[in-house]
C-alpha cells in the first residue's frame, strides 16, 4: 500500500499536470497558426459577445411591436428592418442568439457528458454491460437524429427546455459511440495495465487514464456538435416544434419570415445568414482544433 501511494504520487499527479499544460500550449500554438481557425474563433467570439450583451446593446425591446411600421426594410432607425409585427429585427437577432447558442451549447455539453460516461464505461468494462448499452443505443440510432428530435419534441411539446432535451437525447448515441471507440483503443495500452497493476481504483483508471487519453476526438466532435445542434434547433423551430414566439430564436425567425418571403425577404435573410455564419465559424474552429490535436502531426 505504501508503494502504491508513492507510485501514484510520482507518476500521476506531477507528471500529468506538467504534461497537460504543455499539451494545451502545443495545441493552442498550433491553433493560433491556423488562419481559418483564428478567423472562425474571432467571428464566433463576436457573435457570442453580441448575444451575451443583447439586453444592453440592442436598440429596441425585442418584443415591442411598432404596428404602424411593419415589414419595414432596413433604415437608419431599424438597421435590419422590422418583422411582420413591427419588431426590430436586429434586437430580435441579438436576443435570439442567446436562445440559439444556449440551446446548441447546453444540449451538446449534456449529450457529450452523458454519452462519454456511457461510452467510456461500456468501452472499458466490455462484456454484458457493453452489450446492453450498445443495443439500447442501436435503437436510438436506428431513427435518424433529426427525426428522433422531432418525435421527442412532439411528445414533450414545444419550448426552450424541451428543445434542449430533444437535442440532448438524440445526440447521446453518437457521442457514446465515439467515446467507446476511443476508449477501446486506449484500453489495451501498456499504461492502463500498469495502472491496473498498481491497484488504481476503477473510476480513477477510467477517468484519469482512459478518458484523458481518449479526449481529443471527443472534444473535436463536441465542438462540431454545437454547430449541428444549432442547425437542428433552428430546423426544429423552423417546422414549428422549437422555441415559440414571442421568444426570439433564429430558426423561428426564419420560419416566421417565410410566409412573406416573396415581398419582404429581409425578414428571413438576416437570421438565416447569422445561423450560417455561426455554424461556419464553429466548423472553422473545429477543423483547426482537429488538426491541432492530431497526434500524427506532432513533431
Amino acid at each position: 500500500m505504501e508503494q502504491n501511494g508513492t507510485y501514484s504520487f510520482l507518476y500521476t499527479e506531477d507528471d500529468e499536470s506538467v504534461k497537460k499544460e504543455s499539451m494545451f500550449r502545443i495545441t493552442m500554438k498550433r491553433l493560433l497558426k491556423n488562419k481559418m481557425a483564428v478567423l472562425g474563433g474571432i467571428i464566433l467570439i463576436i457573435i457570442v459577445l453580441a448575444s451575451l450583451l443583447a439586453p444592453w446593446i440592442s436598440p429596441y425591446d425585442y418584443t415591442y411591436q411598432e404596428l404602424y411600421n411593419v415589414n419595414a426594410g432596413p433604415s437608419a432607425e431599424h438597421w435590419l428592418g422590422t418583422d411582420s409585427l413591427g419588431r426590430d429585427i436586429l434586437s430580435r437577432l441579438l436576443h435570439g442568439g442567446r436562445n440559439s447558442l444556449t440551446i446548441g451549447i447546453v444540449s451538446t455539453l449534456l449529450s457529450a457528458l452523458a454519452g462519454t460516461a456511457l461510452g467510456a464505461t461500456a468501452g472499458y468494462y466490455g462484456g454484458a454491460y457493453d452489450n446492453v448499452v450498445m443495443r439500447i443505443l442501436d435503437v436510438f440510432q436506428a431513427v435518424p437524429s433529426m427525426l428522433l428530435a422531432i418525435a421527442i419534441s412532439a411528445t414533450l411539446g414545444t419550448g426552450y427546455i424541451n428543445c434542449i432535451i430533444a437535442l440532448t437525447i438524440s445526440g447521446i448515441p453518437g457521442s457514446a459511440r465515439m467515446a467507446r471507440a476511443s476508449c477501446m483503443g486506449v484500453r489495451n495500452q501498456d499504461y492502463i495495465e500498469a495502472a491496473v497493476s498498481i491497484n488504481a481504483s476503477e473510476p480513477r483508471i477510467i477517468f484519469k487514464h482512459v478518458l484523458m487519453n481518449a479526449l481529443a476526438p471527443i472534444f473535436v466532435m463536441a465542438t462540431m456538435g454545437v454547430a449541428s445542434n444549432i442547425l437542428m434547433s433552428a430546423s426544429l423551430s423552423f417546422v414549428g416544434l422549437g422555441v415559440q414566439p414571442p421568444e426570439a430564436e433564429w430558426g423561428a425567425m426564419v420560419s416566421a419570415g417565410r410566409n412573406v418571403l416573396r415581398y419582404y425577404p429581409h425578414i428571413c435573410i438576416s437570421p438565416a445568414i447569422i445561423i450560417m455564419l455561426t455554424v461556419l465559424s464553429i466548423n472553422m474552429l473545429g477543423d483547426g482544433l482537429r488538426d491541432a490535436l492530431d497526434p500524427r502531426l506532432k513533431q
Binding site: M36, R135, I136, D138, V139, F140, Q141, A142, V143, P144, S145, M146, L147, I150, A151, I152, A154, T155, L156, G157, P173, G174, R177, M178, A181, M221, A227, L231, A234, S235, F238, V239, G240, L241, V254, R258, L261, R262, P265, C268, I269, A272, I273, I275, M276, V279, L280, N283, M284, D287
Partner: protein
C-alpha cells in the same frame, strides 16, 4: 458472405422491435389528446369520450402496445390514421416513394459534385484551386438546407419564375429541393474525399506506383481513389439516411407531398398511428441502407471481404 448478411438481417430485428417500443412510448406520452383534436373545438365531453373508446385510447400502455405489435406482426399493418381512417401502410409507402426519389437525387448530386471537388482539391493540394474548393466546401457544409432552400426559391421561383416554388410532379419540381439539400452534403463529401485521398496518397503503394512510372491519372483514379472510397461509401450511406430523416424540413419548404410532410401533418393533428408508422418505416429503410453499405464494403475492399467473420460497425463517423 451470405451468412454474414443473414446475421445482420437477424440483428436488425431486435433493433426494430426496440424502435417500435421507443416510438410507441413517445407517442403514448405525447402531449395533447388525439380524441379532442379529432372531435374539434366544439365537441362535448361525451363525444370525445366516444371517440376515445372507439380508438381504444382508454386502454393501458401495455394493452395498447400489445395491440400494436399484434397488428404489425399478424397483419403487417401499421394501423389506421385517426384523421382520415386510411391505412397508414399504404399512405406511408406512397409518400415515401416521393421522399426517396428526392433523397436519392440529392445524395447523387452531392456524391458527384463532392467527390469531384475533393479529388481536384487533393490532386492540386495547397494551390489556390485547393483553397478555393475547400472554402466553398466549408461554406456549403455549413449552409443550413432550409436557408439555401429559401434563397433558391426566392431567386429562382419567386423572382425569376424559372422553376415552381413548391409541389411535386416533373423534374422541374425536383431541382430546387435537390440543390438545397444536396449542396451541404456535397460540401461534407468534398472535405471527406480530399482528406481520405490525401491520406491514401502518402501510402507506400502510391510511391511504388509512381516509381514504376504509372501515369498520374491512373494513380489518382485507380490506385488512390479506390482506396479512398471506403470512408466515402460510409459517408454516402449515412448521408442517404440523414437526408431521408431530414426530409421533413426540405418538404416543408417546398411543400413536397413526401413522408416528411406526412409526419408533420400527423404530428400537428395528433394523428399518432400515422406518426408512428412514418417514423418506423424510415427507421426500417435507414437500417437497410446501413446494411447495404456494409455489404458494399466487401466489394470495394477485398481486405474487408476477407475478414467478414466479424461484423463491422458503420455508425462511427470518420471525418
Amino acid at each position: 458472405m451470405l451468412k454474414y448478411i443473414g446475421k445482420r438481417i437477424l440483428m436488425m430485428i431486435p433493433v426494430l422491435v426496440g424502435v417500435i417500443v421507443l416510438i410507441f412510448t413517445l407517442m403514448y406520452f405525447a402531449k395533447g389528446d388525439a380524441a379532442s383534436a379529432l372531435a374539434g373545438a366544439d365537441a362535448t365531453a361525451e363525444e370525445i369520450q366516444q371517440i376515445r373508446a372507439r380508438l381504444g385510447l382508454d386502454d393501458g400502455y401495455f394493452v395498447r402496445l400489445g395491440n400494436y405489435f399484434k397488428q404489425l406482426l399478424l397483419e403487417g399493418n401499421l394501423g389506421y390514421s385517426y384523421r382520415t381512417g386510411a391505412s397508414v401502410s399504404s399512405e406511408v409507402i406512397e409518400r415515401f416513394s416521393v421522399s426517396f426519389e428526392l433523397a436519392v437525387f440529392s445524395v447523387a448530386f452531392s456524391i458527384i459534385f463532392g467527390t469531384i471537388m475533393g479529388i481536384v482539391a487533393a490532386v492540386k493540394q495547397n494551390t489556390w484551386i485547393d483553397n478555393t474548393a475547400m472554402l466553398l466546401a466549408l461554406i456549403g457544409a455549413s449552409m443550413p438546407g432550409f436557408l439555401l432552400g429559401l434563397l433558391l426559391s426566392l431567386v429562382f421561383a419567386l423572382k425569376l419564375h424559372w422553376l415552381p416554388s413548391g409541389g411535386w410532379g416533373g423534374w422541374e419540381y425536383m431541382v430546387l429541393p435537390v440543390l438545397a439539400f444536396g449542396v451541404s452534403h456535397a460540401g461534407t463529401m468534398a472535405r471527406l474525399t480530399r482528406s481520405s485521398m490525401l491520406e491514401v496518397v502518402r501510402q507506400d503503394y502510391i510511391v511504388t506506383a509512381k516509381a514504376k512510372g504509372v501515369s498520374p491519372f491512373k494513380i489518382t483514379f485507380v490506385h488512390a481513389l479506390r482506396n479512398a472510397l471506403i470512408p466515402i461509401t460510409t459517408q454516402a450511406g449515412q448521408m442517404l439516411g440523414i437526408t431521408i430523416g431530414g426530409v421533413v424540413v426540405a418538404e416543408t419548404i417546398f411543400s413536397v407531398p413526401g413522408i416528411g410532410t406526412y409526419i408533420m401533418t400527423a404530428i400537428n393533428s395528433r394523428d399518432y398511428p400515422a406518426v408512428q408508422g412514418g417514423i418506423l418505416f424510415i427507421a426500417l429503410v435507414f437500417g437497410i441502407i446501413l446494411l447495404v453499405v456494409d455489404i458494399l464494403y466487401a466489394f470495394i475492399d477485398p481486405r474487408i471481404g476477407a475478414q467478414y467473420r466479424k461484423h463491422r460497425r458503420t455508425s462511427k463517423r470518420e471525418e
